[in-house]
């Protein structure tokens, strides 16, 4: 009679039990992810608690880091983290935004098409795909920037960027040393090389999110602007970018979070100097670089202090990331509304 068993049949008791068990398991596993995030925060907070009690808020405002005397404070590191990240953000946003407009407006494909048409190849079978192909290649190259490990960027910064910018920096210091920005000379690692490498590392984040935001702008807005007689750039700067601005801003905030937490490139390039200076060429230090440098040799007392520093970094990056995620969510909802 077995051949009469229909393919479609109600589940057996065992199958129903297995179903309930599996669904509970996958729900638990999802809850586990939440628990992991909570556990990370609490683990770091508890490990930092003794140091928080001992040093209090002076830890955030003092400037001395002296393990021999047991005096610790991280104002220079907080300053260095914010200063390098903000500068990298300016540089990265300028270039990332330019690349995003270049990609979303399809400049490369249009230029290629124009060249092909001029040479009479535009409609040939092999050639007609070239514009799109180049466009995709460009996109992949930009995302390739994000795939290179940060320690490799650090290595590249040490042996390429520093020797490259050093003569120019020292010339600037010599000629315009009265400007606080150029107040010291670049003797090796320093803020500027770190900022350059950091900007390169956050550029793909800004570009990817901005390109998505620009492409999500409904095309009827563009058509309306053209219909009113706007040129392409008047449309881009007057309509497309303002409409996409919330999404772009969300991307910039997320990139800021990434820059704040970036460790290796800074640990290798920023110079690990416990000082506060506005000079682009002086060595400095950041929270993440401090953790990377001090943790491997830390004794039990110092571990507590470093956990406190980690807690500060966690607080700053978590706040920035949550704000960025919320901004992005709102931005996509707003664009949906404009459709």
């Amino acid at each position: 009679m077995s051949h009469e068993t229909p393919i479609a049949r109600p589940p057996s008791r065992g199958q129903l039990l297995a179903d309930a068990a599996f669904r509970r398991l996958s729900q638990l596993s999802a809850a586990l992810v939440l628990a992991v995030v909570a556990f990370i925060v609490l683990r770091i907070a508890f490990a930092a608690a003794p140091a928080v009690r001992e040093h209090g808020l002076d830890f955030l405002t003092g400037r001395v880091w002296d393990p021999n005397k047991g005096r610790y404070a991280i104002l220079p590191e907080i300053w260095g983290t914010l200063y390098t990240s903000a500068l990298a953000l300016v540089l990265g946003t300028a270039f990332g935004g330019a690349v995003a407009i270049f990609l979303s407006e399809g400049f490369l494909a249009q230029a290629t098409y124009r060249v092909l048409r001029a040479s009479g190849l535009a409609l040939r079978p092999g050639w007609s795909k070239l514009p799109d192909l180049l466009e995709v290649t460009l996109k992949n190259l930009v995302s390739l920037l994000a795939a290179i490990p940060s320690v490799v960027y650090g290595l590249w910064g040490l042996f390429v960027v520093i020797p490259l910018v050093r003569p120019a920096c020292n010339w600037l210091h010599l000629k315009m040393g009265w400007l606080p920005l150029f107040g010291t000379d670049l003797s090796g690692p320093g803020v500027l090389p770190a900022v350059i490498v950091l900007a390169i590392m956050i550029l793909p984040t800004i570009t990817a999110i901005s390109t998505d935001a620009l492409l999500a702008v409904p095309s009827k807005l563009r058509m309306a602007a053209y219909g009113l007689g706007a040129t392409r750039w008047e449309t881009v700067l007057g309509v497309i970018v303002p409409t996409a601005s919330r999404g772009i801003f969300g991307g910039v905030v997320l990139a800021f979070g990434r820059a704040l937490g970036e460790t290796m490139a800074l640990a290798m390039l920023v110079g690990n100097a416990n000082q506060i200076s506005v000079s682009l060429f002086s060595p400095a230090n950041t929270l993440a670089a401090l953790l990377a440098n001090a943790f491997p040799e830390a004794g039990p007392r110092q571990v507590g202090v470093l956990m406190y520093a980690a807690l500060v970094l966690l607080g700053i990056t978590l706040a920035v990331n949550v704000i960025g995620s919320i901004l992005l969510q709102r931005a996509s909802a707003a664009v949906e509304g404009a459709r």
Binding site: Q15, V37, V99, S150, V151, W233, L306
Partner: protein, 310 residues
Amino acid sequence: MDAITSVPGSAPQGPFAGVDLDGLERSLRRPRTLMGVLLSGLVSAMTLLALVPLFSVLFMLAWRGGKKLSLSLFTQLPPAPLEAGGGFGNAIVGTLFMVGIATVISVPVGILSATHLAQAGRESRLAAAVRFAGKVLTGFPSILAGVFAYGAVVLVTGTFSPVAGGVALSILMLPTVMLTAEDAIRAVPARMKEAAIGMGATPTQTTWMVLLPTALPGILTGVMLAVARAAGETAPLIFTALFSNYWILSHGRLNLMQPTASLAVLIYNFAGMPFENQVELAWAAALVLVLLVLAANLAGQGLSRRQITS
């Protein structure tokens, strides 16, 4: 229609009378046109400039790393200062081993959570919270994963170990695995799922026999991208796995409770050394690491093309 085809300069007739057709010609003398051309040039130049670092990095890797590349790099141990030769075989093994541990931890949790997220309704608060936690974890500084593993594993077991490194890396892999797997499962055509349920399959059977097999390429894409990221991470490893000049496998026995080398930490340690041989090794290790990461990335992208979507 004559008016449009008429030679520039002649007065238009018919419906276009009174329109200054010359004024519609594109002319660089007009500020707004000039502005547009200048901005196009500026944006193109900035895009080119943004790609210079990429080519510079790749060129330096091929040049300085390729110069040193040989088979003995993969079989020998790191040299002492001022010693010639040597390699980083133990670091490659260490990297693969720790990424393996991280994969074993993060992939089951990530995929199981993703099945829940993809099945949960819109009003599910747990799913929304988990998704948000995943997004926040994506932007989580990698060094804090190291700090956490230091507190949760190194301090508890009392020693630097590949397990601590693997735990730190798994935290960084988890959000990528989970969020891509959710997208892949959601992308399975609804009619396939409905057909399975219509035949009396339980949600679990549907998940195992229809959703997961169909979404497999997409899920594996996420896994490969996560592996690529984890393999290149340095910050979570410097003070969890530390570094070692020896093989993780000694006298045929695997000791899980000892400091372990990794390619990324080797690059970091050797880059700052004043010895020419170590710097050369750092470049060669960087080349190997980038090739590893790119291979994982390419595998992921290749798989994503095989994903079936509705």
